[in-house]
């Protein structure tokens, strides 16, 4: 057989390893900062760009898309070439992909700090960056499929299936969740409103976890774990079932993020059922990974690479058991909006993604530099300090979640809330926040030690840009397997495989989303719910810019403990003009759905400028710039027009009167504040956001009064 000699591109892999380590450090550093800010709010230094609600999305985006994102590309560019026995399709595409992705990350960091955000979790970036992401992702896709097409190995190993599913699904999710109408450069509104927007967002959000943090990393697990253990995967059959069951079921589970909300009940139940079913393929995958190590457990004791892998795969198993349990309505009723969710995602992020990335780095760097790891001792130290960090992080957040949810739901014998002041339940868990930040510090210390160890390793070795390899060309191999059928037929044909994968992931999404569009009765309309006034709309955009939804929900669930605390539970019809929905997913502060009319304007004024004046001990950061910055009034007509285009019933020509209406309402609020001794110009941003606060949840009250 005529062998071909060719070269693997190691240089691009090296670039991604550096980016992975660099952004990992940055993302975790920002995480540590916000972990401390949550109990020392003054650490925002009254600078908008350093405020918790703006930089928390930087932390999540940096860890997901910068750290794990580059980790995915590092692993794929290394393993795909070797599994296909071919160099990447095109070097130029590789480098455009690399620099394009780094550019997106840099733009994300800057724009999120500036408050340019859509408010949708893990999809916060505004429309020009959304387009850039789509372009770079397609370039990545072309490069991967090009490599698969020119491969010398007939069969596609299971890792490649996971890569294909990732590329296809992330593209679909990103495009559908980013359908928005631009109002200006860097500002847009989603075409969906309220309940529909929530469903699409969490269909996206859940599957960002599934197809960005899970499937590509499972691909890496199926490649790097056998490599590191130097033995094949435990069961290839199991990996086939793992793959198809996982990608098919995952896509349905999104609505479990919206249990007990105003989402129609059938959609909630669907989310729960599929979440429970997810345990099977997830644990199948975990067992497949762990059993690969059967017979070599002695190696696990000595090899830091394997230690990291064992904990990573175990954390995957724990997180994928915890997720379905949290998707049970009764469990969700207790722990939604609490720190349990934060702990859950960090078992995934620190344990599964973090530790698997570290193991791949510890394995890959010596390999790329043709040397041994500089210090196993330091790697072991990293393992233990990182592991301890996870334990501190998770246990403190579980404790905090249990404490707080019990306090939220505790009634006195007289039937009143025992802790009616929300702040009391927050102050109770501050020690847990402190321990959490300690866990984060330990974890970050480990990362710094790793970087030192890897740099030392690189220095003692010699890097080979292009690694020579040999394999027989595919033409010859073709004849041999011509008669294959079934899955064998399928997995040797990337196009058919990709089409089937796409169908598998589309079914769940379509069956969930289409009925929401078709059936009007799913969103009962309420006659008294009217569009926002121009000033309230501007105020709402400030609420979005400052990221208030990071800590405050706007969704009162139908429990007595919530209606007692916050007021009438939320109805789907109340959100029909909300582009985007702002239900939130975490209550670091209280729900704001019925805040309208609860306090006078002056209370809100003081509370924005210095929260602890109104609520002594408050952990909310101050937003003094709202009282100083001038509202961008000129943007109002464009916003009104954009809203009308996506279905909000502003009458034609209203945009021309919007500014004068806005000024009229602003002056009323300014005059009211003046009576309380606050002199503030009506064109300040704080007036707009106060008007939005006072509007929240009041439409339904107007209806009640009418009936009376």
């Amino acid at each position: 057989m005529q062998m071909e000699t060719f070269k693997y591109d190691n240089k691009i892999v090296k670039a991604f390893t550096i980016a992975t380590a660099f952004w990992g450090f940055i993302g975790m550093l920002v995480g540590l900062l916000i972990a401390v800010q949550i109990y020392i709010p003054a650490l925002n230094f009254e600078i908008p760009y350093l405020t918790f609600s703006r930089i928390r999305p930087i932390h999540t985006n940096a860890v997901i898309f910068a750290f794990v994102g580059n980790g995915i590309f590092m692993g794929i560019y290394y393993s795909l070439q070797r599994l296909c026995k071919a160099r990447m399709y095109n070097d130029l595409l590789s480098w455009i992909h690399f620099w394009g992705w780094q550019l997106i990350i840099a733009l994300a960091a800057v724009t999120l700090a500036l408050g340019l955000t859509t408010s949708k979790e893990y999809a916060e970036l505004e429309w020009p960056i959304d387009i850039l992401i789509a372009v770079v992702w397609v370039i990545f896709g072309i490069n991967v499929f090009g490599t698969i097409v020119k491969r010398r190995e007939k069969h596609m190993y299971v890792a490649i299936w996971f890569y294909i599913a990732t590329i296809v699904t992330v593209a679909v999710l990103h495009i559908i969740n980013s359908i928005e109408i631009p109002v200006s450069f860097m500002k847009s509104y989603p075409v969906y409103a309220g309940v529909q927007d929530a469903l699409v967002q969490w269909w996206y959000g859940h599957n960002a976890v599934a197809f960005f943090l899970t499937t590509p990393y499972l691909g890496l697990m199926y490649y790097f774990l056998p490599k590191a253990a130097n033995r094949p995967v435990y069961s290839y059959r199991l990996s086939i079932i793992h793959f198809w069951a996982l990608i098919f079921i995952y896509i349905w589970a999104g609505p479990h993020h919206l249990l007990y909300t105003s989402l129609p009940d059938w959609a909630q139940s669907l989310g729960t059922v599929f979440s429970i079913m997810l345990i099977a393929p997830s644990w199948g995958g975990m067992i497949n990974g762990l059993l690969t190590l059967r017979g070599v457990w002695d190696k696990v004791r000595e090899e830091p690479v394997l230690k990291f892998m064992v904990v990573a795969v175990t954390a995957y198993g724990m997180a994928t058991l915890e997720g379905p349990l949290l998707a049970l309505k009764s469990v969700n009723a207790l722990f939604h909006y609490t720190d349990w969710i934060i702990s859950h995602v960090h078992i995934g992020a620190l344990g599964w993604n973090g530790f698997l990335t570290f193991s791949v780095l510890y394995w890959l760097i010596p390999k790329l530099y043709k040397t041994n790891l500089y210090s196993k001792k330091l790697a072991n130290f990293h393992f233990w300090i990182g592991f301890l960090g996870i334990v501190f992080y998770a246990s403190s957040m579980y404790w905090s979640a249990i404490t707080q949810t019990l306090m939220w739901k505790q009634f006195t014998p007289e039937g009143l809330l025992q802790y009616p002041n929300f702040l009391e339940t927050v102050l109770q868990i501050v020690p847990m926040y402190f321990i959490r930040s300690l866990g984060g510090l330990l974890y970050l210390t480990g990362v710094i030690v790793m970087v030192y160890n890897l740099v030392k390793t690189a220095k003692q070795g010699s890097f080979v840009d292009d690694e020579e390899a040999q394999a027989a060309p595919l033409v010859i191999a073709h004849e041999k397997y011509k008669k294959g059928w079934g899955h064998r037929w399928l997995e040797s044909r990337p196009v058919q495989f990709t089409i089937l994968t796409t169908i598998a992931i589309l079914i769940g999404g379509l069956i969930e989303v289409i009925p929401m569009y078709l059936i009007k009765t799913n969103v009962p309309t309420i006659a008294s719910v009217k569009p926002y006034s121009p000033l309230e709309l501007q105020g709402r955009d400030i609420y979005i810019r400052e990221g208030c939804n990071t800590c405050h929900s706007q969704m009162i669930r139908p429990f007595r403990s919530e209606t007692e605390r916050y007021g009438e539970y939320s109805k789907a019809g109340e959100y029909v003009h909300d582009h985007p929905f702002l239900w939130g997913s975490k209550r670091t502060g209280p729900d704001l759905m019925r805040i309208g009319g609860k306090y006078p304007n002056v209370w809100h004024y003081h509370h924005f400028v210095e929260p602890s004046l109104m609520s002594p001990g408050s952990l909310m950061p101050s937003y003094p710039w709202l009282a100083e910055d001038r509202l961008d009034i000129e943007s109002t007509p464009a916003k009104i027009s954009a809203m009308r285009k996506i279905g909000v019933p502003y009458e034609i020509g209203y945009e021309d009167r919007a500014i004068s209406d806005l000024m009229k309402q602003a002056e009323e609020i300014a005059v009211d504040l003046q009576k309380s001794g606050i002199a503030v110009d009506p064109d300040k941003e704080i007036i707009a956001i106060i008007s939005y606060m006072q509007r929240l949840g009041t439409d339904i009250k107007a209806k009640v009064e009418e009936e009376k």
Binding site: R82, Y222, P226, P232, I240, V305, K367, A469, Q470, A504
Partner: protein
């Protein structure tokens, strides 16, 4: 728009039943597929990551 036209035409149970049937068919199909694979094929696939065609063999051992 089109939502109004279709609002009365679609029965929600249709989606639920269709979803269930598609899922079961898909899952059973995948299981049958996996079970009927021959041993020689499985062992070839399993060993793919371990044969990467690199000329310079591992100088380091793990």
């Amino acid at each position: 728009m089109f939502k109004q036209y279709l609002s009365s035409a679609v029965d929600i149970h249709f989606f639920a039943i269709t979803g269930l049937i598609i899922f079961l068919t898909f899952f059973v199909g995948a299981v049958i597929w996996a079970i009927t694979r021959k041993e020689d094929y499985l062992s070839k696939m399993k060993n793919l990551p371990l044969e990467d065609g690199e000329k310079i063999k591992e100088k380091i051992k793990l």
